[in-house]
């Protein structure tokens, strides 16, 4: 059931999910979105989660990112059982361990690119100058060092997603989760974003869990997992 660990097969898993169920209640109706999921993602692995709409991909991603809690089961990410953390503890944990890449970038429109990237660093004790230096470094990594002062409305979709990726990596998290990161982009921009994510995985050792509908995008991952009606099928 576990993804092939790369490049260190014996390393402890970055994500260790055991017997996870997630149930939603809609009035009297109970909807089981995830039903007994077991998933292990090794450190520095690149996993693509695939499946039809409503299969539970995004819910599983949200559990890994610590923005939702399982109804039952264990979700251990970067060595921490996230289900056991308090609300504020979970927020602190997210800021240090997970970088989230959204489908629609979700940049703050009133902030420039560098200010958007700097946002997570406001929660650290770093002085202003160091924060700004780190944000600029992250922007250089994603190839947008010369767009630091641009606002989201002045950037293309691909560039916005790069800024969003810079924001996700600026705190140097162990795990990157991406929810359809190329879903709103043209083919060329999508390819560039996927190449960037590959680089972050290969050169910077980030563990990447990516939800996608696109088989071409999924091919860039080392491992593809398929969800069907809340159950991992492959």
């Amino acid at each position: 059931m576990s993804a092939e660990p790369r490049p260190f097969p014996t390393a402890p898993p970055a994500v260790d999910i055991r017997s996870v169920r997630k149930v939603f209640h809609r009035g009297a109706e109970t909807v089981t979105v995830l039903d007994g999921i077991d998933l292990r993602v090794a450190e520095s692995a690149f996993v693509a989660l695939m499946g039809p709409s409503g299969s539970g991909k995004t819910t599983l991603l949200n559990l890994i990112a610590g923005i939702d809690r399982p109804t039952s089961g264990e979700v251990v990410v970067a060595g921490t059982d996230v289900a056991q953390l308090s609300e504020s503890g979970l927020a602190r944990w997210r800021s240090a361990n997970v970088g989230f890449i959204f489908q629609f970038y979700n940049l703050i429109p009133v902030l420039s690119a560098v200010e958007n990237v700097e946002l997570p660093l406001l929660l650290t004790s770093l002085p202003r100058q160091h924060r700004r230096e780190r944000a600029l470094t992250a922007l250089k990594i994603v190839g947008l060092g010369d767009r630091a002062q641009h606002y989201p409305r002045q950037l293309s979709g691909g560039q916005e997603q790069r800024v969003a990726i810079a924001r996700a990596i600026v705190t140097d998290p162990k795990v990157l989760v991406a929810d359809e990161p190329t879903g709103d982009l043209d083919a060329r921009s999508a390819d560039e974003i996927l190449a960037l994510i590959e680089t972050l995985n290969r050169d910077f050792g980030k563990t990447v869990v990516m939800v996608t509908h696109d088989p071409h995008a999924a091919e860039r991952a080392h491992v593809q997992r398929h969800l069907q009606k809340g159950v991992l099928t492959r």
């Binding site: 949200n62 990112a65 923005i67 939702d68 609300e87 504020s88 927020a91 602190r92 944990w93 997210r94 800021s95 240090a96 989230f100 959204f102 629609f104 979700n106 703050i108 429109p109 009133v110 902030l111 200010e115 946002l119 997570p120 406001l122 929660l123 202003r128 924001r167 705190t171």
Partner: protein, 406 residues
Amino acid sequence: MRFLPYILKHLRRDWVRTASTVMGMAVCVFLFCTLRTVLQAMDDAREYGSVSRLITRHAVSLAYNLPLSYQGRIAQVGGVKRVAISTWFGGSLPVKKERQDVRRSGAPDFSKFFTNLAVEHEPYFAMHRELVVPAPEMAAFREDLRGSLIGRGLAQQFGWKVGDTFFLESFIPAFRRRQGPFEFVVRGIYDADLALEPAADNRFMYFHYKYLYEGMGRRIGTGVFVVELEDGRQSAAVARAIDGVFENSEAETKTQTEAAFRADFAARVGNLSLLLNSIGLAVIFTVLLVTGNTMSIAVRERRTEIAVLKTLGFSSGRVMGLVLAEAVAIGAFGGALGLGLSALMIETLPRLPSIGAFIRGLPTFGLHWAVSSQGLGIAVLVALVAGLLPALAAYRARIVDMLRQA
């Protein structure tokens, strides 16, 4: 402090909305500070201070006259230098109609209303040295029973000059006579020396009390007695002594400083304090609703951003704090702007032609730090209360729900 630039940038996002909310808050603080300053100054004026003149009036109401015989008894009270009769006539120029003789017309034209006082000229002008009249004009006024002295402002308002005649009709029944309005001749124009008396008004008209007294068949008393003191520091004691003389009489008196009298007179228009406070409260409540609505809209529009902030690791408490800080920033900006506008208005009020003299007569009139801090406090408090519900909504919102709604 590290979040301040973030908060300020958000305020600039929809600057029209922010500016209108700030303006609403500014109006709230402006009204509060200005009204409080006027009310406080009026309250202060009611306290006895070191003054040179007192006003003795009927204890029940200004609507009742005092017997003229009181004048001699007041003059005998220790510390009293002079006593003068002064009666508010309440006269207006009669309405002008085609082929109508204004001397027979009884309907006053309130659009041309001004203060006109029937005074006992010798003691009155002796104790009101701030009313400066050229000696020949004062002499002419003394000689003519129908004579009047008008302020320079009044003369300019109506284009009157020495020698002009006009008619006045009082709306007070006791001062209305069967044969029609009183006729007056301008015998002199006075200037108000504001250095001597800041409350002096150059838009008053004075005429002989004797003219009114004779005209009404010698059946009237006086509205007030103006009392000049030997020593202004004794004002409280002398006022008590005067009122003591008439205690348990048919017409008990109430003696106040001039400033206190003016404040009471202004308040006589109605319960001025209640009125002004009600206006202030209504405005504050309205601004509370407007700001609350603005903050709610702002938070609703930013559901995705709030979800993003929480995803990035901002705790619910911190997100709530950011929303509240934004509301407080609006309150602080609005408060500061309102305070500035209020300071400007308070600086300007004493110079305005209509209300200036009354304001100048309030000895403690000015924007004090206590009122300023109350104004700013109210602005911040209103903003905090207005921001509380949206902030709680942001606090409670779940990331996945907000992302799903986006």
